[in-house]
């Protein structure tokens, strides 16, 4: 067989892995790879971003909407360091990406060479696995393993360190048909005894509740989940990561629970006696104080990662497996119970339904008041966009407003940074999402703070002719932190104000794109319509009320019972909570 350069072998291996898109920035240590890529331009689309953080978030956006593994590339040293935030973000939200970083030649490693950084050391705590390829013959095997590890079981990021000399060596090693990792065999099929145990518990429950997590979307199990929920006839609360896994307008839907969740979802979590959890890791945003959270209820925990079961809360019935497989099996068992399913816990369901109606009515009333608020913006958007439009968000108040007021019915249509909460995620992730689903309309609900962190990617959007519509909730503050200081620190606004209010319309124009400024409620819908009509990326800059708070809210170091600022159930204020402690 003919000898091939390592870098060419890398590209060939990417093709074997069916990679057709990558996001990245070149540099000294990765030149050989990019040189080989030059001959494959018709096969692999290389999207040059303006910051490596843009590249990694774009790979994430791509992966989150398609379910495929996203690929990003950087050079050594600072280039690779710039990938770190996005890699950590991918680990927290279980997003499959492979990040390839150039590295200095093997002879220079450990000598503080130019643009050398110990990326193996740096990425070990933030990846599912990392590799440094020191031998050119190992390229295909290692890269294929990287893609396998990123995609299988609980997905996650994998980092590959590529020394320059290894890229330049010649080899005639063949690309294997497949690779195997004996120590990596995720359990997909659930234990039948545990399934039976779960069904018994569900049938006996007086106040059952389903808590749906992001794992349902990762497993592409929405259909199976719908059937399960409807068969079991149990109300459904979701985590933020599961928004879209279950239609927000379904009669059983209580929508998002947790720190900024709906009152009815949180009421249900507090008062249920059996909590059926699927694909959720019981993050502190969901549980508040874990000791209090667990009390008075038995938890059935279904997850593909055995390490999550029992990690944060005590579990009565642990079920390890893939969500899709578990859900279809358990639904069959429930169906077999036939008549036992009917007329169960109808009082509980009635109470929850009435509560839901009151809560929804109270919220609508709130939005009808005057003013250009984030609440209004998100509510209007919810009515305007289509079910299969994709909504991406940044991080902060605007993210919580979006989570709360945007109705989503389909999986992979609400793309947000949950576990890491990375500001700046929005725009590049929207870019990646559009590349992954070119036929969908992609909206990025962002904050003025978050947007500024990665707005250089407007150049990439322009250059690549990728259209997304950023809607900027422009309040001239780092809103979420301001809210905390407002509620818990007597408005001691330290480090949260921007002295000048930025005009994102002008910024859009500077990048050769469209911008629309909205200062009145009456202008918003027209702005949306115009933005949708335009062929190019259009920023809608909405000058909202500066000090709006997103409520209800779980205060710091609190139990779910201490949620404040609600209108129906959790009407207490922070002072009320402090008094009662």
């Amino acid at each position: 067989m003919l000898k091939m350069k390592g870098s060419k072998l890398m590209v060939e291996t990417l093709l074997k892995e069916k990679v057709d898109t990558m996001f990245g920035i070149t540099g000294g240590a990765i030149i050989p790879f990019y040189d080989s890529l030059y001959d494959y331009q018709s096969k692999i689309r290389n999207i040059l971003t303006r910051h490596e953080q843009g590249a990694v978030h774009a790979a994430e956006g791509y992966a989150r909407v398609t379910g495929k593994v996203g690929t990003c590339v950087s050079t050594s040293g600072p280039g690779a360091c710039n990938l770190v935030t996005g890699i950590a973000d991918a680990l927290m939200d279980s997003v499959p990406i492979v990040a390839i970083g150039g590295q200095v030649a093997t002879s220079l490693i450990g000598n503080d060479a130019f643009q050398e950084t110990d990326m193996m050391g740096i990425t070990t705590p933030i990846t599912k696995q990392n590799f440094q390829i020191r031998n050119v013959d190992e390229i295909p095997d290692t890269m294929m393993k990287a893609y396998m590890i990123a995609a299988e079981g609980r997905p996650g990021p994998v980092y590959i360190d590529m020394p320059k000399d290894v890229q330049m060596k010649d080899t005639n090693v063949k690309i294997p048909n497949k690779v195997e990792i004996p120590s990596f065999k995720p359990t997909l099929h659930p234990n039948p005894m545990q399934l039976k145990h779960a069904v018994e518990l569900i049938l006996k429950a007086e106040r059952p509740l389903i808590l749906a997590g992001g794992g349902i979307i990762i497993s592409d199990a929405s259909k199976e989940f719908l059937k399960f929920a409807e068969t079991a006839l149990v109300p459904v609360a979701t985590t933020m990561m599961a928004k879209g896994a279950f239609p927000d307008d379904h009669p059983l839907a209580l929508r998002v629970t947790g720190m900024h969740g709906t009152e009815m979802a949180n009421y249900a979590i507090i008062n249920c006696d059996v909590l059926i959890t699927i694909g959720c890791r019981f993050s502190d945003r969901i549980t508040g104080n874990t000791k209090e959270f667990q009390e008075g209820k038995k938890i059935i925990h279904m997850d593909i990662d055995p390490a999550e079961i029992g990690k944060n809360v005590k579990v009565e019935v642990p079920i390890v497996g893939d969500a899709k497989i578990i859900l279809s099996k358990i639904t069959k068992l429930l169906v077999a119970e036939g008549s036992k399913l009917k007329n169960r816990n109808s009082e509980w369901r009635k109470k929850i339904k009435e509560l839901k109606e009151s809560c929804d009515a109270a919220e609508i009333k709130d939005i009808k008041k005057d003013g250009l608020t984030a609440k209004f913006v998100c509510h209007e958007m919810s009515k305007f966009i289509k079910d299969n439009d994709i909504v991406v968000t940044g991080v902060g108040q605007h993210q919580m407003f979006a989570e709360h007021y945007l109705e989503r019915k389909l999986p992979r249509t609400f793309i947000t940074s949950g576990g890491a909460g990375t500001m700046g995620f929005g725009l590049p992730a929207a870019l990646g999402a559009k590349v992954g689903k070119p036929d969908a309309d992609v909206w990025d609900i962002d904050g003025d703070g978050s947007f500024q962190m990665t707005m250089q990617e407007l150049a990439t959007l322009k250059e690549q002719k990728i259209k997304v519509v950023p809607i900027i909730i422009n309040n001239q503050f780092l809103g979420m932190v301001r809210q905390w200081l407002d509620l818990f620190q007597n408005k001691r606004y330290s480090g949260v104000n921007f002295k000048e209010r930025m005009s994102f319309e002008k910024i859009a124009n500077a990048f050769g794109l469209n911008g629309i400024t909205v200062t009145k409620r009456s202008e918003f819908l027209d702005a949306l319509k115009q933005a949708k009509k335009n062929n190019e990326t259009t920023i809608v800059d909405v000058m909202v009320e500066k000090e709006e708070n997103i409520l209800p809210m779980l205060p710091p170091s609190s139990t779910l019972k201490e949620i404040i600022g609600g209108q129906v159930v959790f009407k207490q204020s922070w002072d009320d909570v402090l008094k009662s402690r």
């Binding site: 599912k128 696995q129 990792i181 990596f184 055995p306 029992g310 990690k311």
Partner: protein, 163 residues
């Protein structure tokens, strides 16, 4: 409470760092750690003494099993394992009386004298970790000049064949 866990890992650079890094990151307390090759050239065995309670140890086991470089995790409960540690200790023996006393203690404990001068006795102690700790308490009044312990290693006992 102390628990001993043995881990079979791939014999590759950086694996030790990954394991100890994971422990640090998750806040698990490593009391001792030791590593060596196995009879299979591509596998090494790491033995870790952890301080923690039952539920923590269960999490440790699960987190270890998640790691791609970990092939197998084998817990070594005290009642079903052979646990051993080696200690080299330099004890001060300034006069003949103290010298003799140390030698007597060493003989009682069946420790080996591996170095001796008129002023210093160096002993090699092999045994269960608690035996080593007890002996060191005993000779502490003499003055310990230097010490090196390997940390516990261990192996499971097989079940007695009843046939």
């Amino acid at each position: 409470m102390k628990h001993i866990i043995s881990i079979i890992v791939k014999n590759e650079p950086g694996v030790m760092t990954k394991i100890s890094g994971m422990f640090a990151r998750r806040g698990f307390n490593i009391d001792t750690i030791t590593v060596g090759k196995t009879h299979k050239s591509d596998l090494s065995k790491i033995v870790i003494t952890v301080i923690g309670h039952g539920a923590e140890v269960e999490q440790i086991e699960k987190q270890l099993n998640k790691m791609i470089d970990v092939i197998k995790v084998i817990k070594l409960p005290y009642d079903r394992s052979v646990i051993r540690e080696l200690c080299l200790v330099k004890i001060s023996a300034p006069d003949q009386k103290k010298h003799d006393q140390i030698v007597k203690y060493a003989n009682v404990y069946k420790n080996k004298i591996v170095d001796i001068t008129s002023k210093i006795i160096t002993l090699e102690i092999i045994g269960e970790p608690q035996k080593i700790t007890t002996f060191l308490e005993l000779v502490k009044p003499f003055g310990i000049k230097d010490i090196s312990r390997t940390g516990a290693t261990g192996i499971l006992r097989d079940k007695v064949n009843e046939n």
